[in-house]
Symmetry: C2
Subunit: 367 residues, 2 copies
């Protein structure tokens, strides 16, 4: 088992990573203050792991809340069912909320914990690669709004994150690839040597090699914990974690939540960020192509949806949280391994990036 620490002063917390952690009661106990826990899961994950976790939590009174699965349900109505269940069970302020599932469950359970009686403890038990390397670390919680993704939420830190790598055995390959989009992102924004390691190990990761997975997850969480520790509320450097996300959110919003997986949208969005960084002269064409190849080998889409026009992108991006007083800030690569967030670029370069023929670029790679 590896243990990392997210350093946020009095809100610091550990991340445990290893095989079979779901069965280790001693790991959870120090992080549960009361006698009751609410385990929030979904209809896909609960049949696989809820009984096991409930058994591990034998010393506590467990209230299970099983939600429908999918980003389409990351909304107020579903959140309300959590509050309904917790209030009906008369859970008080000393309850600990445990999120058992992927990013959607973690975001909603975390937001429910942040809001329930103005805030109760919570623990993340992420079961997808995406949530293990991204959403479970850093305290971002929330729900979607018809007018934008994650528009309602809170910064709220868990007591602990428990990552059992064996849960990835039940993850559909498409979701494993989506998680790899975020793993690869850390290489681009702050860890160039990790990119080299990923080029050597991407096939092992897709084949669920446990040692490779443990290393990749730990290295990703380390990168994220470092950035979050430096900038909890995303006033500066933390925003670089959103490489590919501004373009990606536009794709998700336009296509409708859940049509493209988040990681898939980030994959194509990252290609667009690479393209724009190249057009600004910050990275070379060879570096762009290296990035696209790795994303492609991870099983990710590297071309935005054919039906989306530049206008579609601009419209959806204008409401992105990275817009400050009207100027669109983008996360771009100053070099491979060094991301910046900037609104200081010629608009025509953004326009050209949105108009670029990604199909042709990718076809060129394959030639």
């Amino acid at each position: 088992m590896q243990t990392l620490k997210v350093d946020l002063g009095e809100r610091s917390y550990p991340i445990y990573i290893g095989e079979g952690l779901l069965d280790q009661a001693g790991l959870l106990a120090p992080h549960i203050a009361g006698r009751k826990v609410a385990v929030i899961s979904n209809a896909t994950v609960a049949p696989l792991y809820l009984d096991r976790l409930t058994q591990t939590l034998g010393a506590y009174s467990v209230v299970p809340v099983v939600l429908p699965d999918g980003e389409a349900f990351k909304n107020w109505e579903t959140l309300q069912t959590i509050f309904d269940a917790m209030l009906t069970a008369r859970l008080d302020r000393r309850v600990t909320v445990i999120a058992l599932g992927g990013g959607v469950i973690g975001d909603m359970a975390g937001f429910a914990a942040a809001c329930y009686q103005r805030g109760v403890d919570f623990i993340q038990v992420p079961t997808t690669l995406l949530s293990q390397v991204d959403s479970s670390v850093g305290g971002k919680t929330g729900i979607n709004h018809p007018l934008g993704k994650n528009m309602v939420g809170a910064f709220y830190q868990p007591q602990a994150v428990v990552i059992d790598t064996t849960t990835l055995a039940t993850l559909p390959p498409r979701e494993l690839s989506a998680g790899l989009a975020e793993v690869i992102k850390y290489g681009f924004i702050c860890d160039e040597p990790f990119l080299g390691w990923l080029e050597d190990n991407v096939d092992a990761l897709r084949a669920l090699d446990q040692a490779a997975l443990t290393l990749a997850i730990a290295r990703s969480c380390e990168a994220k914990a470092r950035v979050v520790g430096a900038d909890e509320r995303e006033s500066g450097v933390r925003a670089t974690l959103n490489l590919g996300h501004t373009f990606g959110h536009a794709i998700e919003t336009h296509m409708g939540y859940g049509v493209w997986l988040h990681g898939e949208a980030v994959g194509a969005g990252t290609v667009m960020a690479l393209e724009m960084s190249m057009r600004l002269g910050w990275i070379t064409q060879a570096e762009r192509d290296r990035g696209i190849r790795l994303l492609q080998r991870a099983g990710l889409p590297v071309v935005p949806p054919a039906e989306m026009t530049p206008t579609d992108f601009l419209e959806h991006m204008a409401i992105d949280k990275k817009v400050l007083d009207g100027s669109l800030r983008l996360v771009l690569l100053r070099s491979i391994g060094e991301a910046v967030i900037t609104a200081d670029y010629p608009h025509d370069v953004l326009q050209a990036t949105l108009e670029a023929d990604y199909r042709a670029i990718v076809a060129g790679l394959e030639a």
Copy 2:
């Protein structure tokens, strides 16, 4: 103008109290970071003060959001209309939310600010006595749930609180009395000399004497700021501010939100807390009667609803946020001017308090 400070480290903020502050642009400007503000108000207050505040905010782009008036609308559906308006206006993270209205507006606008894009700045401009002396200070925000009052919310501090005492001129007398319930409460829990002052000035306050109002509001805010500064998240002493509220919330929930005003329920709830403190031998019958008389002179109900049985009370109180792992903690008076929160009392004293004949007690006073 009086200026107080709520001392919460990096989340400290000032409270300004005085006549005509609504017109002073220089007071607001240092607390607004961006160029845009969303003013959240309701259909009663907006016609009275929204234009004036908008004029004062002439240097900013103002998005007004006018909600229906009343505790019955303090729910998710109304909150959603705030998010809809803010997202439609494409307000970004640098927006400042201004709450213009009473406690319901402050609680909802504050919670909206806490959740909008995971948290934006906000300023309280309370226009009712209740919100001026209570809900605008301390950072409690939230909405009601069908299963309980304020069950969903956040601790979220404003940038500043601006209290214009002249706004009380348009407040219905019944709401002025409801506000006095909280003013009187500070005397009971931590400021016995203030009780004496209130006995001398309660008629002046009801007649809207501006000097008396300014003093009473400042002294109340001072008391609250002191308590909140010592215990922001209500782990201990802050809970004493809820004198009369556990009984009061039961009344509000049972009668349906909005039938009794919050302050009215607190008035009757405080009488019950006085009664129980007397039955525990902590205060004398004369002290209980002194308290009831003052609450009565303030125009408050001092008898719980005839239709509520002891069982009704116990049922509603069991889900109160002050229940920790099953034992019901109550705020009681160890002496006049000294409140305690305790679960250490014989249950039969609580039962007797719920069964007491308050009509007879009050009739005895009048005899």
